[in-house]
Amino acid sequence: MFSEQATPMAQGLLAPPSAEPPTFPRVPVSGYSDCSQPFQLGERSFSRQYAHIYAVRLSGMRPGLECRARSRWGNDIALRKLSELQAGEKCCVVGTLFKAMQLQPSILQEISEEHNLVPQPPLPKYIQPSDELILEDELQRIKLEGAIDVQRLVTGTILAVYGTEQDDGRFLVEDHCFADLPPPLPWNGPSSNRFVLLASGLGLGSVSGEALLSTQLLVDVVTGQLGAEGEQSCAAHITRVILAGNLLSQNTQSRDTINKAKYLTKKTQAASVEAVKMLDEILLQLCTSVPVDVMPGEFDPTNYTLPQQPLHRCMLPLASAYATLRLVTNPYQANLDGVRFLGTSGQNISDIFKYSSMDNYLEILEWTLLAGHISPTAPDTLGCYPFYKSDPFILTECPHVYFCGNAPHFQSKLLQGKEGQRVLLVTVPDFSVTQTACLINLRDLTCQPITFSSFGADSED
């Protein structure tokens, strides 16, 4: 793994100073291309309705799903639109799922005066046994029941259901299928060890400072200051660092200016200003030594709706002087040394977590890959830009590394597909909580967590 070959020289620095210590050159970037153009929005106009995004999503995924349905249930099945359904006929329908949830926060209910409701506090999960699934296509909708897991699925998923329409107007589902893994990409990965460091949730600007030394240790390992010679030479094989969101802590989001009186807050500075300065210094240290891609996250100073646009360069004056800093969108897609990376800062996964019975972030990540869409719950419960020409979150090619940031734990899995796809699924943990980052070896698509620790007032090990 990462520094196995460093073991012989592990204690080499426990010695008097020797002659000229070696410096290792960073492995050069051999192939990098940014494929996030679909996620970069130029001029934005919010004057359109969100219905268009569902229409393009359905029309974009329908061909693939019809293919999948035919291969699964036979070439001669009847593919019907909802308006063509006949009672009692076994057929297959492709449409968008809508889950009617009682607990789903609704702005209309909140502002309705006749209910006199206090807005409900945020819950970890909004699922209830009484939730119902409804399938919609371009013109009609129909309630679903039968062999379909209501709790597990979320609004916005495109799927194909096979069954019959009942007399009472509901559709009895016998089987259903998703878009499954997208077609594979050719593999051009490196032949020697090349590592990419994935970290997320640095959480700068938080009140507690425990994670600060761990962040410094992370920077020191990557820049080759920490460790004995063997470890430093292994660290020289780290070709890239990707910071997957939440560089700032949630604490920087509280705005006293809204709650407090003006005379109390006039001279105060937003908490994010200090945090961004700290971020700039950390990024400067990294950028002088390794290419860094910075993705924005939920608490970072950029737009709220997906796809989040890159942080502006003016906030990072010291670091953006270096060509090694790349400020990128969330979600982010790129070819690194012939390996296709695709990932988000975790908002899509955590939103599905809230509205589905699935508990495991890795399971949800895998499910989004099999459902063929990065973020099905957008725009229903997750803010999204009103696309109308095409939905950029539809997965058209299978990435080699698919990650999500700000997960509660580190998990990884290598998924093998029927058509030869090989995907490494990684849930990158929140660094401010776990002090763990991930090292991905591009040569063999393996992933290893790297943990940092120091000693606190209570000396636990």
């Binding site: 793994m1 520094s3 196995e4 460093a6 073991t7 592990a10 204690q11 620095l13 426990l14 010695a15 008097p16 100073p17 020797s18 000229e20 210590p21 070696p22 410096t23 290792f24 050159p25 960073r26 970037v29 600060l212 030394l213 410094q216 240790l217 020191d220 390992v221 820049t223 080759g224 200051q225 920490l226 460790g227 004995a228 010679e229 470890e231 030479s233 210094e281 240290q285 002088t288 030594s289 390794v290 003016c314 004056p317 010291l318 953006s320 002087a321 270096y322 060509a323 990884s412 290893q448 967590p449 790297i450 943990t451 940092f452 620790s453 120091s454 000693f455 606190g456 007032a457 000396s459």
Partner: protein
């Protein structure tokens, strides 16, 4: 014997100044490679303990290695106190690094002094924070000015702190800064680009080369009140003649060159070439600020050169430690 100097230095830091001496702090202070700093700290601890076993010395170590955790082989990097080193080493299945992290007189309750020491020393050395590191990245070069977007109006922000080296120059440039700081920086960037171009064998832009010599010459020879007319003849034969007959010393030439880009602030749309060509518009007091800037650019040049020569001159630097000791607030 000079090689033993570092021992006395470390002794002074630890015992007399009561500092927390981390390997990184020592590396920046003595100007040595990080690995040498780690070895120096180890050597110091060994010797001190050998000669005086009751010495009040506490050491923290860095232990790194592989560890099986939750079904994954996790790479763990930990800073531990001396008494916990063996325990940590036994927990790891393979050990990849052990070295001294810091030496201090008092026992540390938690790791925040370590963080603070490193933070402070890095903050004062932000310009060359990877200078003593064991990894060199060839791709980490500052962006060249033409890469930056040209519109000075809306994108004033990104331009201003673009070049950290120029920051010092800008700061010494108080009064005109109020006028148009980003264009000023663009001018200064243009100056740096000019200097870099001139440093290379053939300046592709011969106008720039001219601009270097000519304004200095012409400015030196012409009187300040009549500058406005002369500057228009920049490329003119007057300038060329003066170029040939250049008996003007280096000093004023450099001065004027430094002044000139800051002066050219008023031209928003001019390219760096033409920016360099209007020396006479300077309105700020000539003497002190020019000297400041000149010395600052000189210092910047020196540190740039130092960086290039660094790998082979580490030993040389060590010899200079004696002087470094005396004036500790040396490099900014």
């Amino acid at each position: 014997m000079t090689d033993e100097l570092y021992l006395e230095n470390i002794d002074e830091f630890v015992t007399d100044q009561n500092r927390v001496v981390t390997y990184k702090w020592l590396s920046y202070t003595l100007g040595v490679h990080v690995n040498q700093a780690k070895q120096m700290l180890y050597d110091y601890v060994e010797r001190k303990r050998k000669e005086n076993s009751g010495a009040q010395l506490h050491v923290t170590y860095l232990v790194a290695g592989n560890l099986l955790q939750n079904g994954y082989v996790c790479h763990k990097v930990a800073v531990v106190r001396e008494d916990k080193v063996e325990a940590m080493k036994s927990k790891l299945s393979t050990i990849s690094s052990v070295h001294v992290y810091s030496v201090q007189k008092a026992l540390l309750k938690d790791s925040s002094p370590l963080y603070n020491t490193d933070y402070d020393i890095v903050k004062t050395n932000l310009q060359h924070c990877s200078k003593f590191s064991a990894i060199r990245c060839a791709a980490a070069v500052p962006r060249t000015p033409p890469d930056a977007p040209r519109a000075p109006g809306p994108t004033q922000g990104p331009r201003s702190p673009r070049d950290p080296d120029a920051a010092g120059v800008v700061n010494g440039h108080g009064p005109p800064a109020a006028r148009a700081p980003p264009q000023q920086h663009k001018g200064i960037m243009g100056m740096f680009a000019a200097k870099a171009a001139a440093k290379a064998q053939d300046t592709p832009k011969e106008t720039k080369a001219e601009a270097r010599e000519a304004p200095g010459v012409s400015a030196a020879s012409s009187k300040p009140p009549t500058k406005n007319t002369i500057m228009n003849n920049f490329f003119g034969k007057a300038a060329m003649n003066k170029l040939k007959a250049s008996s003007v010393p280096e000093q004023p030439k450099e001065e004027k060159e430094v002044v000139k880009p800051s002066v050219a602030v008023a031209e928003p749309e001019s390219s760096p070439n033409t920016v360099a060509e209007k020396p006479g518009k300077k309105t700020e007091p000539a003497g002190i600020q020019q000297k400041d800037k000149k010395s600052k650019t000189k210092r910047v040049d020196r540190s740039d050169d130092e960086e290039e020569r660094d790998p082979e001159n580490v030993k040389k630097k060590r010899k200079r430690i004696k002087q470094l000791q005396s004036d500790s607030s040396d490099e900014e």
